[in-house]
Symmetry: D4
Subunit: 251 residues, 8 copies
């Protein structure tokens, strides 16, 4: 019901008698999702914005996560993020072909082969401690249809480490820059490249870091123009944004 085109087609069908009014109402209602009680699974989201329904694991019980996997298997590939080891264990005991990424805490099921798009995502991290977020981003990118590579531990306190990798970095379609503490890496990278840059502040740090606030504010006020920001530790969100962009590129 959200696009005039779909609506117009449906109206035309009703006009031409191919669909009666009650069926039309039903069509509108049934199309977009399937209701399994505690959760509405949005099967048609791919039609609207190109992404599969993704399970956000935090705040869900292992049983709820397993329940969703049970209902979704058959509709394609599945990605669950922020999955605790306990929930992963439960799901994997039911579906052994599901993969758990311990560092990135993602749970994935490949139901049909992924054909990667032409655009590629470069993921850059400031320090070793940012790797968990980077892994969440990398796995998410691949589930969303784009290859991703990680360039790690190139924080600005030793800026030659970054400068030395610029050739590699410049080859990606879009960049995801992950940094905690003051998040300065986003500004430096943003000033060195032409590509779209998505900055992910991480909660790595303590004290005046305020659980990622310092990096978040730093990235939002970056002196490098054209850097955009997602939520703290939000590797998945950065991957979604990166893949929306990478999808614009054709081979």
């Amino acid at each position: 019901m959200d696009t005039n085109n779909e609506l117009k087609a449906l109206l035309q069908d009703i006009r031409d008698g191919r669909t009666d009014v009650d069926s039309g109402m039903q069509a509108l209602r049934d199309l977009p999702y399937r209701d399994i009680g505690h959760t509405k699974i949005d099967l048609h989201r791919p039609l609207r914005n190109g992404f599969p329904e993704v399970i956000y694991g935090a705040g869900k019980t292992p049983e709820q996560i397993a329940d969703i996997f049970t209902h979704m298997r058959g509709t394609g590939n599945i990605l669950a993020t922020r999955v605790s080891p306990e929930a992963a264990e439960l799901v994997r005991s039911l579906f052994p072909d599901v993969t758990y990424n311990e560092q990135g805490r993602t749970l994935t099921h490949i139901g049909k082969e992924i054909v990667f798009g032409a655009g590629r995502v470069g993921i850059i991290t400031a320090g070793t401690s940012d790797l968990a977020v980077a892994e969440e981003a990398r796995t998410s990118c691949e589930m969303l249809g784009h290859q991703a590579g990680i360039i790690s531990d190139v924080g600005v306190a030793g800026i030659h480490r970054l400068l030395d990798r610029m050739d590699t970095i410049r080859k990606y379609t879009v960049l995801v820059v992950i940094a905690g503490m003051e998040g300065a890496l986003a500004s430096v990278v943003g000033g060195l490249v032409r590509q779209p840059v998505i900055a992910v502040p991480t909660s790595v740090g303590y004290g005046a870091n305020f659980a990622g606030l310092s990096a978040l504010l730093g990235m939002l006020t970056s002196c490098a123009s054209g850097v955009t920001v997602v939520n703290i530790d939000n590797g998945f969100g950065a991957a979604c944004a990166a893949c929306r962009i990478a999808g614009l590129v054709t081979a």
Copy 2:
């Protein structure tokens, strides 16, 4: 000095005797910018990240702004943002061919014709009060080489206004969503489209808005995956990000 390729060419020139060591040092030093005392004008930024040097007018005196215009005219197109009417008047008294956008508070000089890229930017605003930021974004996009259109006053409190414009909205390469108050428009748009979405919180509001904080936090925690955010009221930054993305599309 920031790319190995440039460095390698220079090294080869020195090796082959086409350039001596002192000239090499000079080349490295002189290439990137011109120093006019209070400001270093970065003439080679286009080579690095595709954007002209842009003047950020806030906190600069009218005289400083005029001074920069004087030195930059001849190097191409010029964009100044956050320019007060007083500064605009001074610059325009010196250079009558400079254009001032009162609502967007931008000052522009077209030194050579802009050839627009294939990617186009759609700018969506929640309310009338967000138009100043939208105008800053639109002017900036055009100076950066991409056409932009504004879809205004489609805030979520009357959601049919937005749904009715979705056909138009879906035709742009990348979307900039500008909203104050709670900034919910970004989430709704992000859920309806496949394109990259850059959200700009505005300081429109009062009280618990805390000068844009409510919209900022709301956009950062959007339930629509893949929305990225720039600083409050940062129409220019959103335009830069949008043009980095729009530049990926070829006709």
Copy 3:
């Protein structure tokens, strides 16, 4: 002692000699509550604002909660919120007819049959993770004398899910909208209906959510006029407010 009417009646009794002064003092003192040492049980609260004394379980020991149940049984129905499983177990071991709602963490005792008022409360949630708050609200509404129904998982990132349920939603007297992250659901619902809307921000989210702050600020600055807000995760408070309103409606 808080209403002139009650006071006036008492004064008249004293004037007419039906009550002596000391008894009058005693009447004033004894009427409103019963003191059981660590807690004053406010038996007359129903006379003042229509609600039974409710036990707020957080920060109370299982023993204190059980103690209050012991003293209150006989005075009518009892509702305890934020009750840990441990406290629930203790109370239920003493009073097996007490009911524990695990998801909503409420403990209820029906001492006398509830006659539901004409007004009905619709509880709308953005996501699966908001169900705990919704259950606290639903149970509370029923204990306070009004039937309540839950419409779940209709967050704005897939806005058709919400639009499809509007017929159902419009049938309730008053609406409670529960959402975490950016809380945009309150604005969208508020713009679509005529009914009173009470928004409950939840602490579902992370990073810039700041434990519910983003949803709270977003709901307070909603662009939909006439939305009111209660504290983060405060399902009980929303139920109280909803029942104050629902009580205005007569069949």
Copy 4:
């Protein structure tokens, strides 16, 4: 397009040939609002949520406000809030029958007689300094169809002032409690009455008041159950909420 009922009628018209497809599309598009360039005037909002389009004056130029008045006169009654004296003067020079409330900063035009509903709104203020917000609320209530009375200067530091007015206060359908500083009045009133209570924190205060934050947080965490809160200084929003509630009552 937002209600299935309206949609169903339209579908039936198309089905029966009373409306062709293109007209149907046009009907959907034209129904809800009128676009006057910088602002979409939402003429059908009354159909959806019972309120006229209201002009939020802050951040709009006097010229924009006058422009909207020009286009809206003829569609019924008009209410503009947060109108500066300058804007009021401009509008009133064009339309002398428009009324400006200096204290409440509202601009109103009565195009057709208001028939007040049965529900009445009681507005209670803690101090003299809160009267501006109270006046905005009172005027708004009346424009929205409900009579309102103000009980002023009954802050809790002299609690007998409040207790003495309880008889009057208890006669209203719904209460709006307006207080700055610590906002304790909302808790005390909420504990004394059965009616719905909408609390409005004001920015009256200094220092740790943080422009209304102390009253806002205090009201959100009120120990009196069932108090709901709107944004700081938001007299209009409180009036909208109050009138949504007052509208439930029939004579």
Copy 5:
């Protein structure tokens, strides 16, 4: 060395030959405290501000606390606050005559009988959950030489509970008002009495309470003039302040 009087006496002793220079230096150095390695025990604090050295237990190991008890026994009475049950157990295994208050989490040793001053401290709490702080305050008052009584559970949501106790409350020399949530009790009490009122915000609450911030800000911006505030949950600090005041009163 901090008072001229003490210094003058010492100077006179030196001048008169009763004390030589090195002994004078030594006297100055040795007088005020005893250094036991990890802690300087301030034996002379009573001389300066009337309080014994008090052990702040949070952040100290059970061993450190026991160590301090070992060194201080013999110098008079001892009060330790914020003592975990584990630390209490260790100390009590060494010194069985030490008393642990579980609710208030204080550990006390009465080495010499306390002679109570004439001033008495009234401790008022809003709810049952504030009793832990009240107990810390009460025990502290008594160790500091002033009797204290607790009036509990008289929060403003049922204001008659408070009004009924005013006769009792007015008999104390100084009042400590302890409340969480919005902390409104301090304002109401402050408006009803002539005595000094010390407000203690507690961290009782959730969400917008922000661990006591709402009560803290509310008390700081109280509309009742002359209310002073101590840190969140700081029952000990309130007791110290109350006893400084109570000490001014002579029988």
Copy 6:
């Protein structure tokens, strides 16, 4: 109506026929204050808490302030705080015997001679910039019946300045310590004296001072036990608290 004693006397009068019921009701209603429209003047506040009604000038128009002066003259002494020079000029044009303290921004009228109590208030400031708050405090103390002296510019960065004045400082009954920046003076004074200490953070400072927040938090977390705090810049509130305490002392 707030004390049982007053109530009891009234009940007895009614019982004995000395007062009829309606007169009793009237007595209760009329006793405490006089309503002049926009403000209720609380004439009986002295009976309750010992202070005259004080006018808080901020947020009131010069006309409102003058109006209150007009109604209050005759009831005793008057103190208005936070009075702008404009309002002062208006009031003084009407009542030339009113005094304006420019630095402290207070407006005072001595209607009947003040008999000072035995307790005296010492006001200590860290820097020259804190004098405005100190003057507000000093004037307020005197209007409330206690003499006050100011010890200025003894901030801790030059701690000998403070130590040298300790003899003078120790002679006051109660101390008010006023400091901006980090507010450390309160901790140092609190550690050196036995008297009650009321700390007033001021908004003197910039940057991380956040308009007084740094001093406020510093004073609330003072390492010197028994320091209490009032709102930022609240010289009047500190005076009220100091006089509540000073009033306990008899000559």
Copy 7:
């Protein structure tokens, strides 16, 4: 009185009869400062920490500033910071040999020639807008006895501008890095040099900059170890810290 050495000498003088007791008391009292009423001028501060008394101009009236200049002239060099043009004009009308730095807003009087120490201070700024703070720092350094040079406009968005100046930067004894927005320059410089680095966040920026908060937090959480931070815009404080350090170096 603050050092045992001074005290010991004085004690010895008293012991030996060279000084009597009252003179000793007087000596202690008179040594450290001169009281001119509203301000204590700390003439002996140089003896304690090496700096002249400096006038902090913000919050002082032009008359107060002029008054202090009047009393201090004769005691050496004078530095006043945060001086408004109005105050500068008044002082300079009285003392024409006083110099006003408009950009840095400092007012200086050279009463006796400054002999510069061996240590030199390098002041690095990210952008043109940071020059005001840099000028305050530079002037302050020179008044405190150390030469200072400014390296401006080398922000990290164009990192080659910084790298190109490293040879110059490495020649200073100590570095002051001044940056607004995200303040990343401090981290990059801190990683490139061995010298002490003092970071000064500036309030240059808007929105999520929160008046310098983003730069402040960023600098405090810098990934480059050993960077220290002063208050936002505090050029004078940075100069003091830098000169404390520079003073350690001998030629």
Copy 8:
């Protein structure tokens, strides 16, 4: 590649044929660090800023920490901070000559003897609870080549304890002042000494301390000029800054 000198030498080598172009490129790339997969060990950091690579243990697994120790042993001395007892146990089981400081939570390996520089660092703490941070600082100083001493428990609430130690304190080259709560110690020390002072706020405290925020803001706004600040609890960072300064002093 970060200094022109190094670059110039390399260019000369290439010019003279001593190095060919590809080798030159390789030299630039290989010089600065060694990549061991998850972490880049920065072996040349000593050349740039005088410090060894330091392991920040928080957020790293015991295995990752052990892995880094394995690769770094042989390159000199090693310092790891924020090391949990579990990680320490693992490393020490592999390398028994590694030392763990339980209080300071540092893990150190002395591969080659440390020759201490002439500058010495004085570490001053306000209370016993600050000793963990002090120990981290002390150990770090020694690993960085400078001796350090701790003066503990000299908080300002008993200021004579501090004054008595000033002779000792004045003998150090540079001072690190560690304090929680309000952090006033930094201001007092800063006003008493000429040396550089680095303040470390600690998270010791509760309530309005906000995990160190009160001390942090207090130190940043210190009234003692020239105090610089590092992050909350950042003993290591303070040591780095102190050693950068101490390194300026020659015997």
